[in-house]
């Protein structure tokens, strides 16, 4: 019984040899194969761009969540200062949720980074092999008889076919990852849109918004009043009254 790797190598080779068996005119096969390679190279480049786009989307979400954190935090402080523990609690609950999302996002961005890196490596290797194949195919077409060419094409095509399988796998895996991330990004965006992760003051005025507004208006008036009292009442004596 062959091991894991042995079996896998056989599967890939059998795929390649089936392909070569179908070849009739060696020169034509070479040109066709070269076209396919170029196509795959375009696909890798597109894959890299897609990963970059997804990453940007997640980074934007990160920025948004970070702003939310700051706002929720200052709102919680304001609520505490105003003696409204219930409001503070709500702000802190939202803040915790936003923090969790932020951590998830960091992990996802790191995963996309890794995929981008792999695709770039694959692109570089494929490009190098395509270039080598291109010059070799011209030599084969010019210098060899049909029978000899068949053998040499077999070697070159197997070598590059393997790289194509490798690159194809990298593209597929990156695509899966990107799709997963897109789905999760969509879910986070829904949370933000539903106001679950948003701060109290954003969007429509809710009951909470009004309460917090009243709270801060009240505190501002109190402070102002204190200041006036201090100015008017004390004359020269005590001017240093802080809220």
């Amino acid at each position: 019984m062959a091991g894991l790797i042995e079996r896998m190598s056989l599967v890939i080779k059998s795929k390649l040899s089936k392909l070569l068996d179908r070849a009739e005119d060696p020169g034509e096969t070479l040109d066709y194969s070269y076209e396919q390679q170029r196509q795959l190279l375009t696909n890798v480049k597109r894959g890299i761009a897609d990963v970059a786009t997804s990453k940007k989307r997640l980074q934007l979400q990160t920025d948004k969540l970070e702003q939310s954190l700051v706002r929720l935090d200052s709102q919680a402080r304001e609520a505490v200062a105003g003696g409204r523990e219930d409001l503070a609690r709500q702000a802190l609950e939202r803040k915790t949720l936003a923090q969790q999302q932020l951590q998830d996002l960091d992990g996802q961005i790191a995963q996309l980074d890794a995929q981008q890196e792999k695709l770039s490596t694959s692109e570089k290797q494929l490009a190098a092999k395509i270039e080598a194949f291109r010059s070799q195919k011209e030599v084969i077409k010019a210098q060899y008889s049909a029978a000899e060419a068949q053998v040499r094409i077999g070697e070159a095509a197997t070598g590059i076919g393997e790289q194509m399988a490798d690159t194809g796998l990298a593209i597929e895996r990156a695509r899966d990852k990107t799709e997963q991330m897109q789905a999760r990004a969509g879910a986070v965006e829904e949370l933000i849109a539903a106001g679950t992760l948003e701060d109290f003051t954003a969007g429509d005025q809710s009951q909470l918004d009004r309460e917090l507004d009243q709270l801060s208006t009240g505190r501002q008036v109190d402070a102002e009043l204190e200041r006036l009292k201090a100015e008017v009442g004390a004359g020269a004596g005590k001017k240093e009254l802080e809220q």
Partner: protein, 96 residues
């Protein structure tokens, strides 16, 4: 012989390493059959290590076919399994 580490590149290794790789390979298959992902990942990592340490990296321009193709250890059991199937993870190659 020539070995491809999928996603990394090709290495030329001494034929004498074949036995060592075969042994790891048999254990990798056993791990896969027992759904033991950590063990499978370890065996694959060991194979990668042997090839990286004892092998000589081929240049990217080299068109030589590989004798062995070793997948990365970060695939799931399911993904590794589908690597063998005819319509598996490795996408179809260009055909006409």
């Amino acid at each position: 012989m020539i070995v491809r580490l999928m996603g990394e590149g090709q290495y030329k290794i001494d034929d004498g390493l074949r036995e060592q790789l075969n042994e790891l390979d048999d254990r990798a298959l056993a791990a896969l059959e027992q759904d033991d992902e950590p063990a499978l990942d370890e065996r694959l990592d060991e194979m990668w290590q042997v090839v990286r340490e004892r092998g000589e990296r081929l240049s990217d321009e080299d068109l030589s076919p590989s004798d062995l193709i070793i997948p990365p250890s970060d695939l799931s059991l399911e993904e590794t399994r589908t690597l063998f199937s005819e319509d598996g993870l490795v996408p179809d190659l260009p055909s006409r």
